[in-house]
């Protein structure tokens, strides 16, 4: 009963179809390459993200929300940035770490999309960091983890639990890649761009 209450939206201004209403998250198989991740532009300066992080970037999934309703869900900003899922899947940052006692190897960061519905926003998705470490000599995978929002917030990850130059540089550069990735202005969200994405040109 309590769980059900937590999943219900009490805000009457939110369109009914966005109410979670006890629905379960959708699987990754429902993500198509031409779908969009919409990101509200809470601040014009992309780096100023109060309450936000480089990991678990909150977005809205185009499959589950109408464009005209994006601004109805917090933070109520009329403009947004967006990118195509195909572009998120292409994001990859690779660096060799040779001098450390621990965590030596080839570090590869990629982005993983997960559907994480909220009570008033069934379209809510997060872009998480997937971190792999490979042995440089034989290519064997030594480590793999997809960091959750809580892992990141509590600094319980290799990537943000270490404060040396290598790890600071790696996570800083990943943040820059995410800013570059979610960069299209909402004014570019038009039929032409979406058609090009569907036929695989974008």
């Amino acid at each position: 009963m309590l769980l059900r209450l937590l999943m219900e939206c009490a805000n009457p201004n939110i369109p009914k179809y966005l109410d979670r209403n006890n629905r379960q998250p959708l699987s990754e198989r429902k993500f198509f390459y031409f779908h969009n991740a919409y990101r509200d532009e809470a601040n014009a300066n992309g780096i100023e993200i109060p309450g936000g992080n480089a990991n678990a970037i909150s977005c809205k999934w185009s499959k589950l929300i109408r464009k005209e309703d994006i601004h109805k869900v917090e933070p109520f900003k009329p403009s947004y940035r967006f990118c195509f899922f195909k572009e998120i899947r292409k994001l990859k940052l690779e660096r060799d770490y040779l001098n450390g006692q621990q965590h030596q190897g080839r570090h590869v960061l990629t982005a993983k999309i997960v559907h994480t519905p909220q009570p008033c926003n069934f379209a809510h998705i997060e872009i998480l960091i997937n971190h792999k470490i490979f042995d440089i000599k034989n290519g064997k995978k030594l480590f793999e983890e997809t960091y959750t929002y809580l892992d990141w917030k509590n600094k319980n990850t290799i990537l943000n639990g270490n404060d040396n130059k290598f790890f600071k540089g790696l996570r800083g550069d990943y943040r820059i890649e995410v800013i570059k990735l979610i960069s299209r202005a909402s004014s570019e969200n038009n039929l032409k761009n979406n058609t090009l994405a569907i036929i695989g040109i974008l």
Binding site: A44, N45, G46, I47, E48, I49, P50, I176, I179
Partner: protein
Amino acid sequence: MNILDIILQSTASVTQGVPQHPPYIQCLVADRTSFNRENQANWDTLKEYFESLGNGALNQSESIVIPQETEKKINQVFGQLNYKSDSGKNMANELIKEMLSMGVSNFQLSTTGEGEFLIYTRSSDGSFRNVLIDENADIEIIFLPRDRTKTKNKYFFKEDGISLPGVIAALNGMR
């Protein structure tokens, strides 16, 4: 605000009786005709030159007084950040003094989602120049143009020695 704006503001401040420019600014004024971003070799040489001069200029910023309103905002931002050490705070204070000594006062203070102290300026073309200081006093500068796909960053680590005029010059040199 780009580097030429800073030079022009600094030039104006002399006529208003504000303290003399740090030496690296004089060097920039003298060299502005030869300043050419297309020529990377010239730019690197020039940057290296005023970075070395800038080390001497750091002491000059000690006499700069941070305006009360700015200080209030600084303390507010520090309160949000909950830095565990003082080194990040000291670095932020020094950087703000340095900017004020250069005649740059149109900056905003805030935080990033990753818990860094954020100082930024916004240009009329919609671009942002950001300086991020973490609690270990390491610095990252980020140039965020209107076209975000061209966003750039650069790091300055405390363990390598940081020249604050060099940080500001590098940020203003980003296009």
